[in-house]
């Protein structure tokens, strides 16, 4: 089980801030494929990966990052701090 978190408009499109996902995905990209196949709202939220960023266990990473031993994955748009 992995905690999957969504922020900003990703959260709004998917309609929830976090959920537990049972998955055998090996990478973040695999997880995205699984999520997109669930429902249209997921498919829409992940339709343009270039507009998304991902953090694995609270560290920014890439979509080809491994999920081995991972507890938390977060998807969000590019950050706008400062």
């Amino acid at each position: 089980m992995i905690d999957v978190l969504y922020f900003a408009w990703v959260r709004e499109r998917i309609g929830l801030p976090r959920e537990q996902v049972k998955t055998t995905a090996k990478t973040v990209a695999d997880l995205v494929v699984e999520l997109r196949s669930r429902e249209e709202r997921y498919d829409l939220a992940f339709s343009d990966l270039s507009a998304l960023r991902v953090a694995v266990d609270q560290k920014l990473t890439d979509f080809d990052a491994s999920l081995s031993g991972v507890r938390e994955v977060a998807f969000f748009p590019p950050m706008t701090g400062g």
Binding site: L5, F7, A8, W9, A55, Q58, K59, L60, A74, F76, P77, P78, M79, T80, G81, G82
Partner: protein, 147 residues
Amino acid sequence: MRISVQEQAFDLGAETSCFAAGHKDMGAIVTFTGIVRDLPDDPLIAMEIEHYPGMTEAALTEIAQTAVDRWSLGDALVIHRHGRLIPGEMIMMVATASRHRKDAFEAAEYLMDYLKSRAPFWKREITAQGEGWVASKSEDEDALKRW
């Protein structure tokens, strides 16, 4: 080094004064403060800042520690608010203390460039016409190439 992610307002004067007073062995102190712009003709009613609790503090700590190491800073301070802010309110501040002005300036600019695009904050603008997420700017991403 102090990192604070907080909902409540901070006192810029008190924070700046306290930071400088703690570093009398440093010749140069630089601060940057970000404010929600309050423009007479601007339709902005409020700005809402979402963040990623846990990761935010870790990301800010890593960014600040990198700056401290790279520029041999005496100290660094980062305060960043989240929640609902109205025009005129302060969003965040950074402060750097160094022996030399060039290092204090560069480190503060580095902190700001990384805070903009590498710390997990997302801004949403609420106007009379509606609401929307602030888009990241390509110039903010480009600014990182300097470092």
